[in-house]
Amino acid sequence: MKEKTNVNDIDRSLYDFRNEEDESEYFDSGLSKEIIRAISDEKNDTDWMREFRLRSLEIYQKTKMVDWGPSIEGLDVDNIVTYIRQKSRMNTDWEAVPDDIKDTFERLGIPQAERESLAGVGAQYDSELVYHNVRKEVAESGVVYTDLESAMHDERYAEMIRQHFMKLVPPTDHKFAALHGAVWSGGSFVYVPKGVCLEIPLQSYFRLNAKGAGQFEHTLIILEEGSYLHFIEGCSAPKYYEAGLHAGCVELYVGRNATLRYSTIENWSKNMYNLNTKRALVEEGGKIEWVSGSFGSHVSYLYPMSILNGRGASAEFTGITFAGEGQNLDTGAKVVHNAPDTSSYINTKSISKSGGISTFRSAVTVNKNAEGSRSAVNCESLMLDRISRSDTVPVMDIRTNKADIGHEAKIGRISDEAVFYLMSRGLDEDSAKAMIVRGFADNVSKELPLEYAMEMNNLIGLEMKGSIG
């Protein structure tokens, strides 16, 4: 496959220049204009993109670190270049992937071929055929699904990308958005023309692996009026980086009466700082459906935001977060009701275990012009032991009287009665608890395509193994 070889070549060389710079020249972040220019040169950026990167760098250097959320002390932000350079050292050799991650793969039953894909070896495998089929069908309907960098150089899409790129998540949004603007690399571009409804989900699973562009990838999806797309973001296989920072960015434009479902099962390796920004702008009558499972990473900041900008626009967020040992996962959702008759529905579950910290964080804002809007937030947390932690931090900011806003949250543990009931029917304690936790997570699993739901259930099973002392 053409992209794969290309990307591997770029991977090896792209950021491998840092050691030529004199470190003492740079203060604050250690990231300099020269480095950014070098990235632009490597990528053959257009003039506006060159400027955009440099401007983002300035913003990055001026912007303060976030003063809320989990600690990112373990992240050497003063020497962010290290993380960029790490990319070139990403393991391309399956043998070099640490054993615990390999074990996970074995137990998950992820096929040999996909493991090879993780290692960046472009092998032929079954799923790829499926992918090609989709691509053919997709192309005929006028849908564009390609990598963002080549789309930017394609005159058919260049202007469209320029008009949308980081307009929804501007570099001024927060420090890591600015960083992303300066050093972004890789990612997907999807365009669905008016009225086109894709029956089969598009998956970025293989693409990301193949391109090895995980850390600062940018996803840009534009849905025209009346179209439908289910996009599955592929973090389902753990990626391994020696030191992990992931500051990706996802921008979704949902046109009038269009519906976009965006599903993610994220299982980054557990040394990763996942500071991902996802945002959707939804026009009149349009709908965004987020399905989000967070299992991996050391620290996560993840709050997909839906901006309901046209009358009757709606958002649904269904999420699960499972924080195990050494993990601090701060996840949730944000919704801005900015037009009449908009509605949002947030339903999340979180599980904390073995000292893991999970935080549900949300913001629902209903502006004055959003009369007739409705919002319902429902979050449930499960504590599996007494050394873990689970926090719920929702905010509602309501500025019209013609709205109905509801919020419900619960925290607790697995009921002894439920465990007893299952054990009385012959299940051992481990299985009984795992079954209950899977049931707890079914808000998300029933929203996923079957193979992903199974994988998620496997993940829960894995996390639950040996949890009973």
Binding site: W68, K334, M383, S388, P394, A403, D404, H407, E408, I411
Partner: protein, 298 residues
């Protein structure tokens, strides 16, 4: 004038929401008055806060005793700090009514020991800028905290409440019920946190806020936190904000009430709910007068 950060949210969140704190210019008040309530009281202790000054009120209930303190605040601007100690098996009830004009900085902190209970009632009726911080430290085994809060905010008034129930002891219980009505450019923030610390085995905490918004000039911020570092606990919170449920409106309409009357009734209900916790005729009378200038035929 001092610029101070008040009512700091125990766990900060997205800065742009403006709920992490309340930064205010705090008027410097000339006098300090200290009041101590200690011995066994059969009658409620009524404290009138009508002057522009700093009040320091110390309340201590000895083991097994029960006492009620009622603070009625009609000052223009005041700063009130009420410190409560509820020793083992005691019961302290604090009723605060705020019918102020200007800025009120109202702090309540309570230490609640084994099997003691702290009942708190807050009713805010007026005041250009009211800041309330309530901290209940449920330190003892079986300590209980009941908070009933009602507010009526209007006329460009600001109200910021920051409440924290810290569950430290085993089998501690907190129950927080908040209801209120906003109209005419009211700006209200309610931050309520239930914090289950490690060790609070068997603790239960519940929190609920119901807000009725009467027009579209208002700002309502609701921030209900649950922090949890213990497995064997039960926490819940609920909030409902906005207009009256469509089905309730239909039911009442079907009996002949028009929408305006329904809203009047429901708005009053949010305040009247509080009155049943105020078991003092004298205070009730004052509240009724403040509410509708004696226009009540009941």
């Amino acid at each position: 004038m001092d610029n101070k950060r008040l009512n700091i949210l125990p766990v900060p969140t997205f800065g742009w929401l403006g709920v992490n704190d309340a930064v205010r210019e705090i008027a410097v008040l000339p006098d300090v008055e200290s009041i101590t309530v200690e011995c066994r009281q059969t009658e409620p202790v009524r404290i009138d806060l009508s002057d522009n000054k700093e009040y320091e009120i110390n309340v201590c209930a000895n083991e097994g005793e029960s006492l009620t303190v009622i603070e009625y605040n009609t000052a223009d601007s005041s700063s009130v700090s009420t410190k409560i100690k509820a020793k083992s098996g005691s019961r302290v009830k604090l009723i605060q009514v705020i019918a102020a004009a200007g800025q009120t900085v109202n702090n309540v902190s309570a230490e609640v020991l084994d099997n003691a209970s702290f009942e708190y009632v807050l009713l805010t009726l007026s005041g250009a800028d009211t800041l309330c911080e309530i901290k209940a430290d449920l330190a003892g085994r079986g300590a209980g905290f009941d908070a009933n809060i009602g507010y009526k905010v209007s006329n460009e008034d600001k109200l910021d409440i920051n409440l924290l129930a810290s569950h430290k002891g085993k089998k501690t219980v907190s129950n927080i019920a908040v209801s209120g009505v906003l109209s005419n450019k009211a700006d209200k923030t309610f931050k309520g946190t239930i914090d289950f610390l490690n060790g609070a085995v068997g603790a239960v905490g519940a929190e609920k806020e119901e807000v009725l918004l009467l027009d579209e000039s208002v700002i309502n911020k609701t921030v209900p936190l649950i922090l949890c570092a213990e497995e064997d606990v039960e926490g819940s919170h609920g909030a409902s904000i906005g207009r009256i449920d469509e089905k309730q409106v239909f039911y009442m309409q079907s009996r002949g009430l028009d929408e305006q009357r329904i809203y009047e009734l429901m708005a009053n209900a949010k305040i009247i709910r509080l009155l049943k916790y105020i078991d003092d005729e004298q205070t009730l009378l004052r509240i009724n007068n403040a509410l509708d200038g004696g226009n009540n035929d009941e």
